[in-house]
C-alpha cells in the first residue's frame, strides 16, 4: 500500500503514462497533418484527424482528472513556489546540471519519498508549472477552438479567423515536444539511467541511505551535502 501514498501515487502514475501515450499520439498525428502531402500515405488524412481529435478530447479529460487529483490528493502543494526556488534554487540546480553532475557532486535536491514538502527540484517545478499550467491549457483551449472552427471569428489581424488558433496550437505543441526531449533526458539522471523511469512506473523510489540534509542547511553550515539518496555514477 505504500506506493499509493508516496510522491507518485497510483492515480498520478496512471495519469502521467496515459498523458505520455496520448501526447505522443497527438504529436505524431499533428506532425502528419502539418506536413501532409498529396499521395498515398500509410494512414489517410481523414483517419489521422479522427485519431488526433479523439486523443485531444481524451487528453482534455485526463488533464481535468490531473487538476482534480492535484486538489483532492494534495499533490498541488509540490508545485508551490517558494522564494528559495528562484534564488538560489534555480542557480543551484543549473550549476549542478552544468557542472556538478559531471564531477559526481551530490544532487542539491535529492529524491526523498518521505519528504512531504518537496518532490521537485526548483527547475523541475518551474518547467512543470509552465508546461502543465500555461502551455497545456493553451494547447487544450486552441485545440477545442479548432474542433468548432465555425464559431471562430472570420478574421483576426488580417488573417482568416482559424489561422491564429491553428498557429498557436501547432507551435505550443512544438514547445511541449521540446520539453519532452529534455524531460525524457533528465529522467536518465538518476543513480542509473533507468532508476527514475522505474520510480515513475512503480511508484517505489530510491530510499535515502543516510540522514537527509537540505542543501540550504548544508550550505549554511559551509559543508558539502551528505546525501546518498542520489547516487552518483560510480
Amino acid at each position: 500500500m505504500r506506493r499509493d501514498y508516496g510522491p507518485y501515487p497510483l492515480w498520478l502514475r496512471c495519469w502521467h503514462w496515459s498523458n505520455v501515450l496520448l501526447f505522443v499520439m497527438l504529436l505524431i498525428t499533428g506532425f502528419s497533418m502539418h506536413f501532409s502531402r498529396v499521395g498515398p500515405p500509410p494512414v489517410t488524412f481523414r483517419t489521422v484527424v479522427v485519431i488526433h481529435n479523439t486523443a485531444g478530447i481524451l487528453l482534455t479529460l485526463f488533464y481535468c482528472f490531473f487538476l482534480f487529483g492535484n486538489l483532492r490528493f494534495g499533490n498541488a502543494r509540490y508545485y508551490l513556489i517558494t522564494a528559495d526556488d528562484i534564488t538560489p534554487g534555480m542557480l543551484r540546480q543549473a550549476r549542478y546540471y552544468l557542472w556538478g553532475i559531471f564531477l559526481g557532486s551530490p544532487h542539491p535536491y535529492p529524491h526523498n519519498p518521505h519528504d512531504e514538502v518537496r518532490k521537485f527540484n526548483p527547475m523541475q517545478k518551474m518547467s512543470y508549472l509552465t508546461v502543465m499550467f500555461l502551455l497545456f491549457p493553451i494547447l487544450i483551449v486552441t485545440g477545442w477552438a479548432l474542433l468548432f472552427p465555425y464559431l471562430l471569428p472570420n478574421e483576426i489581424f488580417g488573417l482568416p479567423g482559424i489561422a491564429p488558433w491553428a498557429l498557436v496550437h501547432t507551435y505550443t505543441g512544438y514547445f511541449i515536444f521540446l520539453f519532452m526531449i529534455v524531460h525524457t533526458y533528465l529522467g536518465t539522471t538518476g543513480a542509473t539511467p533507468g532508476e527514475l523511469f522505474r520510480f515513475m512506473w512503480s511508484g517505489v523510489g530510491p530510499e535515502p541511505t543516510s540522514k537527509l540534509r537540505t542543501p540550504d542547511l548544508a550550505e549554511s553550515a559551509g559543508s558539502d551535502v551528505q546525501v546518498t539518496a542520489q547516487k552518483d555514477h560510480k
Partner: protein, 282 residues
C-alpha cells in the same frame, strides 16, 4: 420656332439611331432598354454594365432578327460564345466540357451560358477577392444542384449531401464546388466529374502541394505566393488550411530549436559518461 424644334428632334433621333450600332459607352443606356425597361426584363442593367460584356450593345450577341419589332430572332440565331472566344485556353475548356458529366448527361442542351451568365460574367481575376469568386462560382452550381425553395433549404440540402466532410459548412462556404467535383489533374476546372468520382482525399487540398494553389487560386499565385513566409500563402486570403498553410520561418525555428536541444542533450549525456569513466579510473 416649330422648324427649329423639328431640326433638334431630327438630330436627336439621328444620334439615337447611330448609337444603336455602336458599343455602349460610359453610363449610356443600351437602346434596347428604351423598350425593355429594367422592370420588364430579367437583366439588371447596372450589373450588366459592370460585367465583362458590359461594354457591348445587346445586339452584339442578339444579332439577327432583333433590330425590328416584333423580333423574329431565335436563340439558335444568336452568337455563340465560341464565335468570339477562340483562344487556345477556351479550346481546352471546350474539350473538358465535352468530357464532363454535364455534356454526357445533358448532351447538346448544355452550353457555356448554363453556368456562366453572359450578362453578368466577371473573370475571377477581376473580382475583389477570393470569397467573391467562390460565391459567384457556387451560385452557378446551386441554381440547379441544390434542392429547396429558400437559400436556407438549399444550404441544408447541401450540408446533408456533404456530411462526410469535417466541418461541411465551412468547406461549402469557403470552397468552390468545382474544387472537389472536377478532375484534380485537369487544369481548366471544367471537367466536372460524376458525384461518385468527386475528390474525397482530404490531402488533395490539405497538403503542401495543395491542388487549390495550382488550380482554384492560380490567378493569384504569382502576386501572393511569398506572402508572410507561409506555404500556400495565397490560400490564406480565404481560409487557413491545416496541412496546406504553415509558416516556413516558424517551422525552421522549431526544427532548429529541437536540433540544438538534441545536440545539447547528446553532448551532456556524452559528458556524463566520459566523466563517470574518468572518476572510476581515478
Amino acid at each position: 420656332m416649330r422648324a427649329v424644334a423639328a431640326i433638334v428632334l431630327l438630330l436627336a433621333s439621328g444620334i439615337c439611331l447611330v448609337s444603336t450600332g455602336m458599343a455602349q459607352t460610359g453610363g449610356q443606356e443600351p437602346p434596347c432598354m428604351q423598350c425593355h425597361k429594367p422592370s420588364d426584363i430579367a437583366i439588371d442593367p447596372a450589373r450588366f454594365a459592370q460585367s465583362e460584356h458590359g461594354a457591348f450593345d445587346c445586339t452584339f450577341c442578339h444579332t439577327t432578327g432583333f433590330s425590328k419589332f416584333p423580333h423574329t430572332g431565335t436563340r439558335a440565331e444568336m452568337r455563340d460564345c465560341m464565335d468570339c472566344h477562340k483562344e487556345r485556353k477556351l479550346a481546352r475548356i471546350a474539350q473538358a466540357v465535352k468530357a464532363s458529366v454535364h455534356a454526357k448527361m445533358a448532351a447538346r442542351a448544355f452550353r457555356c451560358t448554363n453556368c456562366h451568365s453572359p450578362h453578368y460574367f466577371i473573370p475571377a481575376s477581376h473580382m475583389k477577392d477570393v470569397s467573391e469568386a467562390i460565391l459567384v462560382a457556387n451560385q452557378s452550381c446551386l441554381g440547379c444542384h441544390a434542392k429547396g425553395d429558400t437559400l436556407a433549404d438549399k444550404d441544408l440540402d447541401l450540408a446533408r449531401k456533404h456530411a462526410y466532410l469535417f466541418h461541411a459548412e465551412l468547406h461549402l462556404q469557403r470552397n468552390e464546388c468545382v474544387a472537389c467535383h472536377t478532375d484534380p489533374g485537369e487544369q481548366t476546372m471544367h471537367l466536372i466529374l460524376p458525384k461518385s468520382e468527386a475528390v474525397k482525399d482530404c490531402a488533395t487540398c490539405h497538403a503542401q502541394n495543395s491542388m487549390l494553389a495550382t488550380k482554384l487560386y492560380a490567378h493569384l499565385a504569382l502576386k501572393e505566393r511569398a506572402q508572410q513566409g507561409f506555404v500556400n500563402a495565397i490560400l490564406i486570403n480565404n481560409a487557413y488550411l491545416v496541412g496546406a498553410n504553415r509558416n516556413r520561418w516558424f517551422d525552421w525555428g522549431a526544427f532548429a530549436l529541437a536540433g540544438l536541444l538534441l545536440l545539447g542533450v547528446a553532448a551532456h549525456g556524452l559528458g556524463r559518461w566520459i566523466f563517470a569513466r574518468l572518476r572510476r579510473r581515478s
